[in-house]
């Protein structure tokens, strides 16, 4: 049972805790289908969304999740905040505490920033992505999507391809899927695979073909040009040919398999438009499920907080 004030990474979670989050999210998804998409549960709670990096879906998803639970949701735009005047993260956190914030949702380009913040504030902290470390709510919504389609995660083979090195989504998914009993395979250019993959219990595939053929879930990742040094691969065109999910490769996909991607996609690079339009592609479903998973987390992390 989840008994923490923060969600900083999947690495720290136990399988039982992941299951509780996913089970609660099933009920939250029902609320999203109701006439009135709103429950009064977090009526007197305040959620602050503090993003030091750009985002459409994660930011929006957290904001909607908070609103559907009747919490007040405020966004801090870094560009117009006191961060520009040199305020430190810890001081920003203390300010938010003084403003009676219950949950801070943070995205930061530095790995470990949410952990640092969590140690210094009374409010609960949710990591919405920290540098190249973790993106736990993305992994939770990915696992939710897989479990919804396959009934269980145990025994699935999940193939993740692309820029694994810079991907916090991949890292969180690898931790989570391992704990839930799935096998994880990866494929990408050697320069974009982190060292020590075997220690994480991950196998490397030899080609895109092998990865697609053998997987129940094929998950693409965006090349994170904003985090990369130059020269990790020769050209986008070559990358797309060897490491992209091209239309010709769809015939290798299992009939029941799912195609996933955390978004945003680089069309024509790691994934192509015909693949995005396959019936097996659940990329938009992932976005909906993200709201349900985040509602579940807000519920679970705020229980025990007294009004």
């Amino acid at each position: 049972m989840l008994k923490r004030k923060d969600l900083l990474g999947i690495k720290e979670l136990e399988r039982g805790e992941i299951e509780e989050i996913l089970n609660t999210a099933v009920e939250m998804k029902k609320i999203l289908k109701q006439n009135v998409k709103k429950v009064p549960h977090l009526q007197n709670k305040s959620v602050v969304i503090l993003f030091h990096e750009n985002s459409t879906r994660t930011r929006m998803s957290f904001e909607l999740a908070a609103k559907f639970m009747s919490a007040s949701a405020s966004n801090i735009s870094i560009a117009t905040s006191s961060v520009q005047k040199g305020e430190t993260l810890i001081d920003t956190g203390k300010t938010l505490d003084a403003l009676m914030t219950d949950i801070i949702v943070i995205r930061h380009s530095a790995a470990g920033a949410p952990h640092l913040l969590a140690r210094h504030v009374r409010a609960g902290v949710i990591n919405a992505g920290d540098g190249m470390n973790e993106h736990p709510t993305q992994a939770l919504l990915d696992m939710f999507t897989m479990r919804e389609r396959f009934g269980q995660i145990e025994g699935l083979t999940v193939g993740i391809y692309g820029d694994i090195l810079h991907s916090r989504v991949a890292r969180s998914n690898i931790y989570g899927l391992n704990k839930m009993g799935a096998k994880v395979k990866v494929f990408g250019p050697e320069t974009l695979l982190p060292s020590g993959l075997e220690r994480l219990g991950v196998k490397k595939a030899g080609s895109m073909e092998e990865l697609i053929e053998g997987s129940d879930v094929v998950m693409g990742l965006r090349i994170q040009l904003e985090r990369q040094k130059k020269g990790l691969f020769p050209s986008i065109r070559e990358y797309a040919r060897y490491y992209g999910f091209t239309p010709e490769r769809t015939r290798l996909l299992k009939k029941q398999a799912l195609v996933m991607h955390p978004g945003p996609v680089n069309r024509g690079v790691e994934i192509t438009t015909p693949v995005l339009e396959l019936s097996q592609s659940v990329i938009n479903e992932q976005v909906t499920n993200g709201v349900a998973v985040r509602m579940a987390l807000l519920f679970l992390l705020t229980r025990g907080i007294r009004p």
């Binding site: 049972m1 008994k3 609660t24 099933v26 009920e27 029902k30 609320i31 109701q34 006439n35 009135v36 709103k38 429950v39 009064p40 549960h41 639970m69 519920f299 229980r303 025990g304 907080i305 007294r306 009004p307």
Partner: protein, 179 residues
């Protein structure tokens, strides 16, 4: 907790539920456009019992759903540190229906208030009615039941314990006093 009195035996529970079922039929002139919704936990098997009676008495098929009001409670953080959502299951449309809420004990009325809110979020029913096995008094809100198994005047330091075979192994109602 001290045992004080046996209020209902299994047979008496069944008779009370049978009477409530008849009253529902009488009040709604049959059961067309009527749906049952049991409030978790013990309202659920009671709603099922009523549905079975309606089939037995008049061969009517009345759907029985499940309502979890955890997210609608106003006393959640007072009640338990770690509430769990078990989920609602109302696989039918309640728009324009007579919705009969079923619960085991009517006490402060706060559970029913939460249940009414939850139903309203699903749609706009024609009426919402309330059936309870025991009404023990001490209302804190202006709420009353339409169908009552037994009016049981209690003091606040007493506990009404309803058991239903499906959940507790046997069926009956007992009264206890807190020490």
């Amino acid at each position: 907790m001290n045992f004080k009195a046996k209020i209902f035996s299994e047979d008496e529970v069944k008779r009370a539920i049978a009477r409530i079922s008849h009253q529902i039929l009488e009040h709604n002139k049959g059961a067309e456009d009527t749906v049952l919704v049991g409030i978790r936990t013990r309202g659920v098997p009671l709603a099922k019992m009523i549905a079975q009676n309606l089939r037995r008495f008049e061969n009517l098929d009345v759907p029985a759903g499940i309502l979890d009001i955890t997210l609608y409670r106003d006393d959640l953080s007072l009640k338990s540190e770690h509430p769990v959502i078990n989920g609602s299951d109302i696989p039918f449309n309640i728009e324009g229906k007579n919705v009969i809420l079923v619960d085991d004990v009517l006490f402060t009325g706060r559970t029913v208030r939460a249940a009414i809110d939850a139903i309203m979020d699903l749609g706009r029913p024609k009426t919402i009615q309330l059936a309870v096995l025991i009404d023990r008094g001490h209302r804190e809100l202006p709420i009353r039941a339409d169908y009552i198994g037994k009016n049981l005047p209690t003091s606040r330091n007493e506990i009404v314990s309803v058991k239903v075979a499906e959940i507790d192994g046997d069926t009956g109602v007992d009264l206890y006093t807190l020490l």
